[in-house]
């Protein structure tokens, strides 16, 4: 919250729109979606699958996907998620799921403000890079 307030102060002082903090790409939320991609390069589903299973994504710890192993059941299974949600809806759910559910257990993968006691090595950095978010969105869209 402090981060948000600080940004608001900066925005007012500069007389401009509030920019995304740090190195983050700014985005616009429309309803329950971020319609525009975060990057110019299209998402790559194969890379997205690797992020999904990798150390920074760690998605499989909570979600099951078809053909996965050792997966958790803390969150909803993702089989068919590409048919249930559209690209923009998936993007917002990865970027900042807390906007839709304040109490969600899903981390916000593209956010650096309003967090508590972040270790110095990770401070000011999002969990995933903008391109990785696009890749994961592309991968999830293949789960139909």
């Amino acid at each position: 919250m402090r981060g948000l307030a600080w940004l608001a102060v900066c925005g007012v002082a500069a007389g401009c729109a509030v920019p995304a903090p740090g190195p983050l790409v700014s985005y616009r939320v429309t309803g329950d979606a971020i319609i525009a991609p975060l990057t110019a390069d299209a998402g790559d589903p194969a890379r997205g699958r690797r992020v999904f299973e990798g150390r920074d994504g760690n998605c499989f710890l909570c979600h099951t996907v078809p053909e996965g192993r050792f997966m958790g059941n803390l969150a909803s299974p993702l089989a068919g998620v590409g048919a249930r949600l559209n690209e923009g809806q998936l993007r917002l759910r990865i970027v900042d799921s807390m906007r839709l559910n304040r109490d969600t257990i899903m981390p916000s993968y593209y956010r650096t403000d309003g967090l508590n006691q972040v270790a110095p090595a990770w401070r000011g950095k999002p969990l995933l890079a903008a391109q990785e978010i696009e890749d994961v969105v592309a991968y999830l869209l293949t789960l139909r």
Partner: protein
């Protein structure tokens, strides 16, 4: 109108009006208290998991067998070393723990069930490790024991072992209420880059799978504990540090006030569970 004037005028109206005023004040106080209570309770109502389950209940048959068998339990090596240390004279006074406390089997029985508690001397929360360190420095006037050293883990495991099977029983009262509230606040506070609280995993989702692991209720009733992952015995604060770094959060040092408050909250939350020290986990 000052109070005495008001009282006189009310008295003039008779005892009935006086009673009415008292009743009004009483009901006003009651409403205020109710509002205050509701405000403090709404933030995060402390909850205990139901039914209460020790971490050992989520462990594999192999781990359960290891913990149950004193000849196989690797944590017993530390407890046995602690038993030897109990008898060894140390420091300027050349005194052993046994010189003052006698047979630990009698004098230390049930002690671990009451920790952490408020140290009357410092008015600060102290855990079993802290008490042993304090005794060692002040009474024995011996070389201080480092947090997480094998020596301190050994003595702590030995002392806690004397409460094995006895229910955890910390008292929360006006002495330690503030520590308890702070511990609860930490328990429910989202932390680190992953922005998760203790409660989100160990209160709201215990029993579910996090990858291949089953989330436990996160009790401290078996510490110090032998973890196969560590290949050694470790303290509850070491376990806290593992969780904090997994959340990519700043990791407070061993013995930090934040950990002690959290340890108190966890002890309250685990009230009734038997002490298992030395425990074994994956």
């Amino acid at each position: 109108m000052d109070t005495s004037a008001r009282r006189r005028s009310l008295s003039a109206l008779g005892p009935k009006a006086d009673r009415a005023e008292v009743a009004l004040v009483r009901s006003f106080t009651a409403v205020c208290t109710a509002i205050l209570l509701a405000a403090t309770a709404s933030a995060a109502e402390p909850q205990r998991p139901a039914p209460l389950k020790s971490g050992i209940e989520f462990a594999s048959a192999h781990i359960r067998a290891l913990q149950a068998d004193d000849f196989a339990n690797p944590g017993m090596l530390w407890a046995e070393r602690g038993a030897k240390m109990w008898q060894e004279p140390a420091g300027k006074e050349g005194k052993s723990c046994a010189n003052c406390h006698g047979d630990a089997k009698a004098s230390m029985r049930g002690v671990a069930t009451r920790y952490p508690l408020l140290d009357p001397g410092t008015a600060r929360l102290i855990n079993l490790e802290g008490r042993i360190m304090q005794c060692r420095e002040r009474r024995q006037q011996a070389e201080p024991l480092r947090y997480e050293s094998d020596e301190l883990l050994a003595l702590t495991a030995y002392v806690a072992q004397q409460s094995r099977g006895m229910p955890i029983n910390v008292a929360i009262d006006w002495h330690n209420r503030r520590n308890f509230e702070r511990g609860r606040e930490t328990y429910y506070r989202r932390l680190g880059q992953l922005n998760l609280s203790c409660a989100q995993c160990h209160q709201d989702n215990w029993g579910k799978k996090l990858g291949p692991e089953t989330l436990t209720q996160g009790h401290g009733n078996a510490y110090p504990i032998y973890r196969l992952e560590w290949q050694t015995v470790g303290s509850l604060h070491r376990r806290f540090r593992t969780c904090y770094s997994a959340m990519r959060a700043e990791v407070p040092p061993f013995g930090a006030p934040e950990y002690l408050d959290l340890e108190l909250y966890l002890a309250w939350r685990a009230s009734g569970l038997p002490v298992e020290t030395p425990g074994v986990r994956r």
